[in-house]
Amino acid sequence: MLGYLIEKEFKQIKRDFILPKLILLFPFIALILLPYAANFEFKDIRVVVVDNDKSSYSNQVLNKLRANTSININYFEDTYVKAMELIHEDRADMIINIPLGFEKDYIVNKKSNILIAVNTVNGIKGSISAMYAQNIISDFSHEKNFSIQVLNSPKMEIQLLYSFNKTLNYKFFMVPALMVMILTLICGFLPAFNIVGEKEKGNMEQINVSPITKPVFILSKLIPYWIIGAIVISIGFLVAWLFYGITPQGSIFTVYLFSFIFTLAISGFGLVLSNYAQTYQQAVFMMFFFIMILILMSGLYTPFTSMPPWAQTIGSFSPLKYFIDVMRCVYLKGSNIVELLPQLYALLGFVVVVNTWAILSYRKKN
């Protein structure tokens, strides 16, 4: 019985004018275009230098900075106050202040400091610029085997980016997370819209008077999209590899395992909504409503840990958050299942809760 229904779903999808093209195009567009839209790499960071030391060591630091393509040293000023004026006039983004006695401190104490002040009107640009500079200086200090204390750098929560994405390439951060979006849309949205569509067209009534049991009917809706989801996510892995050279540091098996569990959760979520929506319009609007929240609270674009605690609490109810975590960890850090157990439990929790809810709300409507 299930076989006949799945065959029917595939025929309908294949015959649809838009769906098959869009499904195939989707991983390409999402992975090739979107990483650029969500690009947080900053070029042409305008720097004003206040070199109070004018020593050989301070000069070496500056040369290091000049070597970085993102950083342009545009001005030299004598005092910090004058440098600050340039920031106020928006002619510079960052001040690098090397104190008097920088070189001497190194020789005597093996320890010195540099002050970085950043314009954080655009907070993200500010933190990332500061991090670039900080990175360069700490490289220098490693070379020279002494420690430079960087003062006044804004507090940042970018451990993942910092530690496991040495080139600071934002695409490495976005691509694994965008695959989560793809699965959400294909395995969460499409089957739900499909069910509401049948309800609206009246096909559902015919199905309801037939001996098809509810689980069989629901499975007949989900299985085709699971298969499509598996294909599309595989295309996604391929695109990530071909275009960006991004491959999971961890095992691909872990990625597929979590993809499958996440798919169960997000399709269950779609089913819950499809049970409440009577029309396509309602379904589309509900999906948009929830997906906006789920995505923006999930840490796809902004680091989850930089949200205020109450927002993190809300965000922790988004299965996307956990799966995005997993994808980034496996792709960038090479985490294994044992390290990802908290996410595994969270996702399994979602699977149980939403699917139970889906079954209960389905009965209620009859």
């Binding site: 019985m1 229904l5 025929k11 015959r15 649809d16 009246g202 015919q206 001996p211 009859n366």
Partner: protein, 246 residues
Amino acid sequence: MEDVIIVKDLTKRFGHFVAVDNISFNVKKGEIFGFLGANGAGKTTAMRILCGLSRPTSGEAMVGGFDIRHETEKIKKNIGYMSQKFSLYQDLKVWENIKLFAGIYGMKKNEIALKTDILLNELGFEKEKDTLVKDLPLGWKQKLAFSVAIFHNPKIVFLDEPTGGVDPITRRQFWEMIYDASQKGITVFVTTHYMDEAEYCDRVSIMVDGRIEAMNSPKELKREFNAENIDEVFRLLAKKSTRKEI
């Protein structure tokens, strides 16, 4: 003849609204039973209960020998259903719709293939086997929907205003199909708004405000109400309605 539908004191309430008010009737095997009533009289609600789509508030009913409260799944295996709203898949071909629904009712693959050809032949649809259902004219669609509803040879077929919007010639052909089905022993339970169609039924019941106000053969009904035709009988009874049209 055995009774395939036995309804006793069936009631369905939605809040304070009594959609079906304590109705009782029996339908015999192979009978064509016309279920008439104005819009909102409770026909569709009663029919949905008998099909296992809705639960009654009180009362009992047996359909095809199964209890409508506890054995809806068994009922569903033994009935066919055609709703007012066309419910075959428009984006599937004629043969694909037949195959799908036959498959759902557990028919074997080769049996389906064989019967499909016979059916298309009978309907004169051979050329339309590969046509998408959405490209068929309405009358053809309705004929196909009925054929699909009885394809698995159910004990009873429920037809909810099957001929709405269909031209007179096709309606006539449709009723010939209903007669054929009845000849084969399939009980036909049909709601309609066309009073001339009511004349074709073996027996009709007329519902007013959730109650059955009259039930008999068309001939007896006309005599009982001293009317020319069923249309007149219907008007006499429908006047009693105090319910607003919904």
